[in-house]
Symmetry: C2
Subunit: 260 residues, 2 copies
């Protein structure tokens, strides 16, 4: 399995999806099962090489992904179509490869990424939904989505999001992020909060959602958002919403031609 | 907990919903966990009486219920609202009480039932959906729903459904059932097959679905359905579709006023 004398001359991108319930997030960790570990083991069986894989993002335990991008360089001559099919045989039921592409050598799933979109799902009903236990936050009190949508005007644009980040070595020095879009959509009892940005600080979406729920409870006012942002202090924002409602939904790459 | 000298003068109906993944169906069985068993234990904690509960239907292992009706007679004076709330505290995450009503003494969840509606869900895509593993059948080949909808004309109405039943002591002598409605609806990659009838034979929906999939594969023709029905022999129909795509969706009762 060692890649001695082999030229890793192909750069392959896989688009995967996973139910994060059973995993301690993406990134390999000691003493707990992660998606990356399971994915690497499957890949080794398919391309018969030990390769270094790059994920587009770290996700926390129980966080899900509708579209997560991974790339790796390989000398294998397997077609992208066969990689997809073979990976789906080796992967467990809660992870799948949706698509595979060959890309130029300089593509990197994380560094080439120009933006991401997250979705946070809430089951908004007094009675829990037995089918959504691991897939949406159960929130009892009625949420006025029209009202919450007004947060758009304060959150879209370039801001220092220090107040909406867990202090962590994962956060770079630069705490400024550009939020491209924000929306709150209700379909019957399921609310989806969608937020896209050029990048996200650690726990940023979950803290924004926790703050929105405080607004729904009338404990924070919408017009307090600029003040909370200005404070650059985590304690002014709402709590961190639990992970199981969060989905990495889309990942954006500029000027990349994905060809099958 | 014995009901000596207590008058069981109230008849309570609960509408429940459950994710059947972890259970061996509704009905109490030795050596396996069933929804009825879990439900009875919770109820005992709430009304502090051992009561005999009646479910509207048996469901098989891994089959789900969006709306399942249960009734029991009790001397407890607890309000229906408090039963709902207390039951949802005692029940596990994958079972909930959606509503509770007090009904007349002669109501019986099974015998008073005049019809039921089942839904069968299919994830129709080449790649599996990690979020639907326990909630829909994964079916690879493209299904033409417009075509399958034509089965309506042969299946709606009163027929002897012997060909669409697993031979079992659960089936009564009379194998005639009246199918009230049948539809096949696609929403993107999820197909829902809906069927309502005055009653269902054992495995009837799952065998109808298995037959529809044979039609989708062009191995059975739609115009063969009357012939299959006429044969009154299980071997002419398609296979029994797996249980995890099946949901008891609605239960019909005539002339019953559900008052909260």
């Amino acid at each position: 399995m060692r890649n001695v004398n082999k030229k890793l001359d192909r750069n392959i991108v896989l688009v995967i999806s996973y139910d994060g319930t059973r995993y301690s997030g993406w990134q390999v960790q000691k003493n707990s099962t992660t998606v990356q570990e399971i994915f690497q083991n499957a890949l080794k069986n398919v391309i018969l090489e030990d390769v270094d894989i790059k994920g587009c993002s770290r996700t926390d335990a129980k966080v899900h992904a509708n579209n997560y991008y991974v790339n790796f360089k390989t000398s294998s001559r397997i077609s992208v179509k066969n990689i997809t099919n073979a990976m789906n045989r080796f992967l467990p039921y809660d992870i799948c490869v949706k698509n595979a592409f060959e890309v130029s050598d300089d593509f990197h799933a994380r560094y080439s990424c120009t933006g991401k979109e997250y979705v946070y799902k809430i089951w908004n009903h007094q009675i829990r939904n037995p089918f959504m236990h691991d897939y949406a936050l159960h929130y009892w009190y009625d949420i006025d989505c029209e009202n919450l949508r007004d947060v758009r005007k304060y959150i879209i644009g370039e801001h220092d999001f220090t107040s909406f980040a867990t202090l962590d070595k994962r956060n770079a020095q630069n705490m400024i992020r550009n939020v491209h879009d924000f929306d709150v959509i209700r379909q019957e009892n399921v609310i989806e909060i969608k937020i896209s940005a050029n990048g996200f600080l650690y726990n940023m979406v979950r803290i924004i959602v926790g703050t929105l729920l405080r607004i729904a409870q009338n404990k924070i006012k919408i017009h307090d958002i600029p003040y909370i942002i200005d404070k650059k202090d985590r304690k002014y924002a709402g709590p961190t919403a639990p992970p199981h409602g969060l989905y990495l939904n889309r990942v954006f790459y500029d000027n990349i031609e994905f060809k099958e």
